[in-house]
């Protein structure tokens, strides 16, 4: 039971990050290393707004996600778009951007560890396992975000355009779609997802200027394991790695710190058998 509950919570958080990263890679081939840095920024915005300025935490979350999304759009316009055709340059530029965010946060908030309040205090017990209401709320919000994203991608014109672009950029272009604009919108959605993850996770984590690095590695693992650019793959891979991490903590207490390494080992083993990832084949063939 412990493993199931912990795995579900960990997996859902990884899924949200993985989907955002995968989305922009699938549509525009943009490897946005700064993805988790946006997640960090959102968490710090919430700290500033709700703890320092005393704003309602939910309002703080909304402002944080909006601000981070706008920042993401500006970054696309002025940093990524001019160099978009050079994937290597985008990769390096977004690494640099993440470092700039990190140093900016360090200067503004120092390296002290900070926390924000739970939206709901307390816990309940299920199958002998104590679960915070905040974790349940986070899990619910993640599921809601996934449902909204599914609706957006599968049931709207914008979603159709995004999927078309992901399947074949050239054909979509020939059909009159504005590729650059669509990439910008997708990056906006992707960054909004990162910001949303930061917002819902902020009460459950400890804020520090380096908090973007650890999830970055796990998010990359999720995306690679699921198949680059595959949203379905990201979700499945996130839960596989989430359950793997939870299992390590429970089954090898003295090796709890190895949870990340075990998850990454699983990724390598799967890639040895399926180099394109779990859901990479169809995606690549379609491309």
């Amino acid at each position: 039971m412990n493993i199931i509950i912990s795995g579900l919570i960990m997996g859902s958080m990884l899924a949200l990050l993985g989907i955002g990263f995968s989305l922009i890679f699938g549509v525009a081939r943009i490897v946005n290393i700064a993805h988790t840095a946006f997640y960090m920024l959102a968490a710090y915005f919430i700290y500033q707004l709700s703890i320092k300025l005393g704003l309602n935490p939910i309002l703080g979350m909304l402002i944080a996600v909006t601000t981070v999304t706008l920042l993401g759009l500006l970054v696309y316009k002025f940093l990524i778009d001019p160099i978009r055709e050079h994937e290597g340059a985008v990769l390096i530029a977004t690494i640099a951007l993440a470092m700039v965010f990190q140093e900016g946060v360090l200067l503004s908030f120092t390296g002290d560890y900070l926390t924000v309040d739970f939206l709901i205090d307390g816990f309940f017990t299920i199958g002998g396992v104590k679960v915070f209401y905040q974790q349940l709320l986070t899990f619910g919000m993640v599921l809601l975000a996934m449902a909204v994203l599914w609706f957006l991608l599968m049931k709207t014109k914008l979603g159709l355009a995004i999927r078309s672009m992901a399947e074949d950029r050239e054909i979509a272009n020939l059909m009159g779609m504005n590729e650059s604009r669509l990439a910008m919108i997708t990056l906006g959605i992707s960054v909004a997802l990162a910001g949303f993850t930061g917002a819902v996770l902020a009460p459950l984590t400890v804020l520090n200027p380096y908090m973007w690095m650890e999830p970055l590695i796990m998010m990359m693992a999720v995306v690679v394991l699921g198949g680059l650019g595959s949203i379905k793959g990201s979700v499945v891979a996130a839960f596989i790695l989430g359950f793997a991490e939870a299992a390590v903590v429970f089954l090898i207490p003295q090796g709890a710190f190895l949870k990340g390494s075990v998850a990454l080992t699983i990724m390598i083993l799967v890639l040895l058998m399926r180099p394109e990832g779990l859901f990479g084949i169809v995606f690549e063939e379609e491309r």
Binding site: T110, T115, K130, M211, V249, P253, Q254, A256
Partner: protein, 432 residues
């Protein structure tokens, strides 16, 4: 010609003024303060040094022979949490560009080892105020001529940290036995870090000898943001005493989540984050009853110097000093008396004087150790009458002193109790 003469006169006068003033500008003792300045540890380094310099300069400065010299501090950000190379570069800059006379500070062992070598290359006295690794002082004994310029300022070495932690563990265990009358089962929870390894090994061996049962060992990552899995497993193991070994953010996560989930166990050990005033806010009040090793607690007096130091520091910086603020001691109690006694800034003469002194400081009494062969190590002596540190427990929003309170280092030793101690409390949810 008249204009020319006037111009030259002005220039000459300016030169003369500069020449006259130059010795005055040069009459300072330059002390480098090195540490991670964007982090609480570095802030402690700097604040302690600032307070020492202000106090000394307000009294006219330091008597060096017949001269009176003021203290000038040079801040060096080591960035050592992130990059050891940055720390080495910062020390190199202090030596070559700033040309400091002495250095105080340093925090992370890996960085301090590198900084130590650089300071020794330049034969500059370096007082370490943060790293606990015994190797820093073993080097002094092994190669005295090279490393004699290094002194330990704070904390005492990791072997003594272990001994103190076990004394704290015994205090927690005794409280559980007395109040609950149940066997004590200990869960060791140590972050995965090099400094924690010998402590875990020692705790595994010692806990059964202390009459307590070992419930298990958990090793979360030092930066883990969720330890609910570990806490569920600990509760399942039946542990009622948790021996914590944390120096990083996991200390906040663990205390907050354990308090939130009301895990029926007392947390005792080292939790560096719990040593800070901001711990209560960081854990949103869930860190209540956490017991950690401490250096300074408001209201606790180790000797007559403690209260003036702690209260002045609090008034000046609006926070209780953490142990890295012992740069104050390094400057005011280590360097200045030895400079004044020798009447020189010559490092060799100061070393010879300093290593033989026994002197009171706000945290206890400092005496530098010698190894079994009688070779100076420049390490701090631990035990009753010297340095012991404190045990602090968070009780309803503030940290209070709970150890040493009638503590006996050995069965035949005299009891030690510092002024301001209060009884340890168990979390009320342990009693249900």
């Amino acid at each position: 010609m008249k204009k020319f003469t006037f111009g030259w006169s002005v220039l000459l006068a300016a030169c003369l003024i500069m020449i006259i003033c130059l010795p005055v500008w040069g009459q300072t003792i330059k002390i480098g303060v090195i540490g991670p300045m964007n982090f609480v540890q570095g802030k402690g380094h700097w604040n302690g040094a600032v307070m020492a310099a202000e106090e000394i300069n307000a009294q006219g400065g330091v008597n060096v022979g017949k001269q009176k010299m003021k203290i000038e501090l040079v801040k060096a950000d080591s960035n050592e949490f992130i990059n050891v190379t940055d720390a080495a570069n910062a020390m190199e800059r202090l030596m070559t560009q700033d040309k400091v006379d002495f250095v105080v500070g340093g925090f992370r062992t890996e960085a301090v080892l590198a900084m130590q070598d650089i300071a020794m290359d330049y034969k500059k006295i370096f007082i370490g105020c943060g790293a606990s690794d015994i190797e820093l002082c073993s080097r002094v004994a092994k190669d005295y001529n090279r490393y004699k310029y290094f002194f330990r300022g704070t904390p005492f070495h990791n072997g003594y940290l272990v001994r103190t932690s076990f004394a704290h563990l015994a205090t927690g265990g005794a409280a559980i036995k007395k109040e609950l009358n149940v066997p004590v089962r200990v869960a060791i929870v140590a972050e995965k870090a090099a400094w924690a390894e010998p402590m875990v090994a020692a705790a595994q061996a010692v806990i059964p000898k202390m009459g307590m049962e070992l419930a298990g060992i958990w090793r979360p990552s030092a930066v883990a943001t969720d330890v609910t899995s570990e806490l569920s497993a600990i509760q399942k193991s039946g542990a009622n005493l948790i021996f914590t070994i944390f120096s990083s953010s996991v200390g906040i996560t663990f205390a907050r989540q354990a308090g939130e989930l009301k895990v029926p166990a007392l947390q005792v050990g080292i939790n560096v984050e719990a040593q800070k005033d901001g711990f209560w806010e960081a854990t949103k009040g869930m860190g209540n009853y956490v017991f950690t090793m401490e250096t300074y607690i408001r209201g606790v007096e180790v000797n007559k110097l403690t209260k003036p130091f702690v209260e002045t520091y609090f008034k000046r910086f609006k926070e209780t000093p953490t142990y890295t603020a012992d740069t104050y001691i390094a400057i005011k109690h280590y360097l200045v008396p030895s400079i004044e006694a020798t009447g020189t800034l010559d490092a060799d003469k100061i070393v010879a004087h300093l290593e033989n002194r026994v002197f009171e400081v706000p945290s206890g009494t400092d005496k530098f150790e010698k190894d079994a062969q009688g070779q100076p190590t420049h390490d701090l002596t631990w035990g009753p009458g010297y340095q012991t540190s404190l045990g602090g427990q968070w009780q309803d929003g503030k940290i209070v002193g709970v150890w040493p309170n009638k503590w006996k280092a050995t069965p035949t030793s005299p009891e030690v109790t510092f002024n301001g101690m209060v009884p340890i409390k168990l979390p009320p949810w342990m009693k249900k």
